[in-house]
């Protein structure tokens, strides 16, 4: 805690970086809010792109350039695409869906507002005088790369194993679906199509018969 003991400038006289940060932050926040409130599911994914992109800009403003590019590449580039695929595969409705929000919404609002109030209060109370010195870039690709492969090699490798495990897990989960091979999910599990229809305990949703089917297929 030896850095930036006191802020050289007050909040009422922002620097240019600060103005940019706040503006982009507002955009990011707005996009995030739209993401979680819109009734159009695909729009939500697209607004998520805006929010994540806004965050990438913020990383840049914080001089963490490598993180910003990784953010763009992985989040905007792959994760959102994955989510869109997910929406597609689950036959998410195109257009406004009236039931995008669950009945838990008032509780969610209350909890989120309470959490926001508490956290903002605490954070502002704790850090309102702290100042970030942005004169020297902290996260250039050069520095980040050398640090990552000099000091963080072991976690990095462990992370690669984790990624491999996730990859295998995702494949296993998906492969089961692929080898099911009975066409549409509704046809494959006729009774599962109506989980609330009261077939619990009485319907032939037994795994035994299904396992038998599997064996016959092989």
């Amino acid at each position: 805690m030896n850095v930036a003991a006191t802020a050289p400038q007050g909040f009422l006289s922002p620097t240019g970086v600060e103005i940019a940060f706040v503006l982009v932050g507002l955009v990011t926040l707005g996009a995030a809010v739209v993401t979680v409130t819109t009734r159009q599911l695909v729009h939500a994914a697209l607004w998520l792109v805006v929010a994540l992109g806004g965050l990438a800009v913020e990383y840049l403003l914080l001089t963490a350039e490598f993180i910003a590019w990784v953010q763009v590449l992985i989040y905007v580039g792959s994760i959102v695409v994955l989510l869109l695929f997910g929406l597609m595969l689950t036959r998410a409705p195109i257009g406004r869906s009236p039931d995008a929000d669950s009945g838990n919404r008032p509780v969610a609002v209350a909890v989120a507002l309470a959490a926001a109030a508490a956290l903002v209060w605490v954070v502002v109370d704790a850090f309102r005088t702290q100042w970030i010195d942005l004169d020297q870039p902290q996260g250039t690709t050069d520095v980040t790369g050398s640090i990552l492969f000099r000091h963080w090699v072991l976690p990095f490798e462990a992370l690669s194993v984790l990624l491999l495990a996730a990859l295998v897990g995702a494949i296993v989960l998906s492969r089961r679906n692929a080898t099911r091979g009975t066409g549409s999910p509704d046809a494959g599990s006729p009774d599962a199509g109506s989980p609330d229809a009261g077939s619990r305990g009485t319907g032939p949703r037994g795994t035994g018969s299904r396992g038998a089917d599997d064996k016959e297929q092989r």
Partner: protein
């Protein structure tokens, strides 16, 4: 730059994500909200890393790890959602209520509903054939 700006932005993003997790019906939208929360954390990590001028760059390294883990999480999460959707025909979170107690479960839940509970939720039915698949695969390779 004041540290308060990124910190407050991170807090607000986190709470927006929190709201999304709690309020959205579609499981994929819930996953999106989780991404928002993760990103709020990432922003925090980066901001504090920059503020503290950490010589090890721990905040940025951890951010990278978080991003990687988030990618893995989203992959697994989507696979689970898809499996649930295939089994149940829905990806609405509040429709998956097999662990709820129903009026008929009042007595003897240990006997009458035990096996049923095991095979009831979509996750369980999704897991069980997967296990048989894995074992059969093991037999095939052996």
């Amino acid at each position: 730059m004041h540290l308060a700006y990124p910190a407050v932005l991170a807090v607000l993003l986190f709470c927006v994500g929190l709201y999304g997790v709690l309020a959205r019906r579609n499981a994929i939208l819930v996953l999106m909200s989780v991404e928002l929360m993760l990103n709020a954390v990432n922003l925090n990590l980066v901001a504090f890393d920059v503020w503290l001028r950490d010589s090890l760059h721990a905040g940025q390294a951890l951010t990278l790890f978080t991003i990687a883990i988030a990618a893995a999480e989203i992959g697994i999460g989507l696979a689970i959602v898809l499996a649930v959707y295939r089994n149940r025909g829905t990806s609405a979170v509040d429709d998956l209520r097999d662990t709820a107690e129903r009026p008929g479960d009042d007595t003897g839940s240990g006997d009458g509903n035990g096996p049923d509970d095991a095979s009831g939720p979509g996750g369980a039915t999704a897991d069980e054939p997967a296990r048989t698949d894995a074992s059969q695969k093991a037999e095939a390779t052996a």
